[in-house]
Amino acid sequence: MTAGWSYALNQWRQSPTSFVRLEEHERAFKTVSAAGFRAVELWAGTGRWSNLGRPEHLRLNYGSAAGFLDRLAECGIDAVSSLTWDPSAPAAEEGFELRSTSRPADHGAILRAAETYLELLSELGCERIVVRATEPAGRLGSGFDAAAVASVLDRLGAAAQDHGVRVAVDIDCLSPPLGRRHRAAARAHRQRPRRPVAQHRGSRRGGRRPGLGRPRPRGPHRARPSQGRPLPGRGRGLPASGCGSRPPAGERGP
């Protein structure tokens, strides 16, 4: 099980016609690598210009999954850590079907659609598919069916295991309130004592904080968490974080 820090590529996708040319991919891979990350996260999409977001388009652009891994390696990226996929998002390649994890009748189509991604992930040696539990609350309305969602996620988990992939369920800030236990966990998170996050508030006079300013050991790759400390533990999948990697975080500042 590989563990470590990867970077989500979706922020480079600012408009439907952006981040399509292969040299743009290359510059993003190199920027991520130079910034100290050794893996990238892909995101599922549709159409010829989402050429990292559909298995068939990725293979067409890079010759094969192995060809894509070679390209990443040339850019200093060792692995594809994960791929995020929203089963309810319509895709041209699947006839723009509108599917819901809350509707058992759609579960067959969801599993068929997942299979194309799971095959790619196993070819990429990627061990995590991040599956959005439900469609946004606005679209779901009152139709949330916890049992149905759980059932299809279990079946996805089993299918994924056959490909050596684990499912990580993704809840994000547009997800419907999923149940008592979740709401309690969310409340607990909000009330826990907050450790001040090291963010710049005006220039810091006085002594230099240890560890900064003196030459650092030059390992092959220097991890430089500038804020907070890396979580301990190896191999343990992290609990689903609050807000998933979508929508892209707003730029700090005014």
Binding site: S15, T17, V20, R48, W49, L60, G95, P248, E251, G253
Partner: protein, 316 residues
């Protein structure tokens, strides 16, 4: 007589704290976008079929969005564009087994624009070239068959079908165009002339307009600096954004190095009695540090200060 009916094809990027975005993610940015078009005195607005639900979501319905357009001086929604760039099992105009599904798509689109000012439904008639290859008389005839059916259903709803030929589509040469138009009903399947796409494909748009004048439904006015003489059109995975050595194909009218003779085309249009919309399109104007707002303003400047002096019947 200066032409008054100019419409704008809905491509735009607006700057937000979350980077450059299409404006239709909220009303404030959408209305800033429409105000800029209105300041340039565009009175027609064409959009994509896949954008209709987005605008409906923003304003409640397509009709409500049209009223917002009318508040900004537009006649209304004047055109809808549809395309299937990549062949899928669901949509491949050169494969008869997908025709029913495509026809159903257009029934939905026609219903969505019911009662609006839409006159033209513009389509890219084929998938990308390399998904159709080899292009034969047969593939063109099967494609023609589809668009005759779609043209008929649209005509019943008072809509005109216009075929718009990308340089990387599977009908691009003069012979292929001639065969296609020969096998399509002139009353049901119109010609939609994109000045840049034909020029890139090595075909003179002015000559095409003269040949297919009676069935010409409209134009996309945009320019190019390059002709595709290295088979970009058939190179996977995509010629429009990923052609080797040509990061940008399309430019607004009036830029140095532009290949399209717009004044000559304008004279021809004024002579022909054409009375539809002339549509300005800026596709991917943000490439290489470009800018949709500036390109659109500069193009409308060119219309008002250069094309306006192109008189009907003036000396060739």
């Amino acid at each position: 007589m200066t032409w008054k009916r100019w419409s704008y094809m809905d491509h735009w990027i607006t700057r937000t704290p979350q980077g450059p975005r299409q404006p239709s993610f909220n009303r404030k940015h959408t209305e800033r976008y429409l105000r800029q078009l209105e300041a340039l005195e565009f009175t027609g607005f064409d959009t994509f079929s896949f954008a209709l639900p987005v605008y409906a979501g923003l304003y409640g319905s397509v009709g409500a969005f049209e009223r917002v357009l009318q508040d900004h001086g537009f006649a209304g929604l004047t055109g809808v564009f549809s395309a299937y760039p990549y062949a899928t099992d669901f949509a491949a105009p050169h494969r008869r087994e997908t025709h029913d599904r495509i026809v159903a798509d257009f029934e939905r689109t026609a219903a969505a624009v019911e009662g609006s000012a839409v006159e033209n439904v513009i389509v890219m008639p084929t998938n990308t070239y390399f998904h159709v290859e080899p292009v034969t008389d047969e593939t063109i005839k099967v494609t023609a068959e589809l668009w005759n059916r779609v043209g008929a259903l649209l005509a019943q709803r008072g809509l005109a079908l216009g075929c718009h030929f990308e340089f990387w589509g599977a009908i691009r040469t003069e012979e292929e165009l001639a065969l296609f138009f020969e096998h399509t009903d002139p009353d049901l399947v119109g010609f939609f002339c994109d000045t840049a796409q034909h020029t890139i494909a090595g075909v003179d748009p002015l000559a095409l307009f003269r040949r297919y004048r009676e069935r010409c439904r409209g134009f996309h006015f945009k320019d190019t600096h390059n002709v595709d003489d290295f088979e970009a059109y058939r190179t996977p995975p995509d010629a429009e954004l990923m052609a080797t050595g040509v990061p940008r194909w399309f430019y607004e009218m009036g830029t140095p190095g532009g290949l399209v003779d717009f004044p000559a085309l304008m004279r021809e249009i004024l002579d022909s009695g054409f009375d539809g919309w002339l549509t300005v399109e800026h596709d991917k104007a943000d490439l290489g540090g470009g800018d949709f707002a500036e390109s659109t303003a500069v193009a409308k400047w060119y219309i008002d200060n250069v094309l306006a002096s192109a008189r009907a019947g003036a000396a060739r």
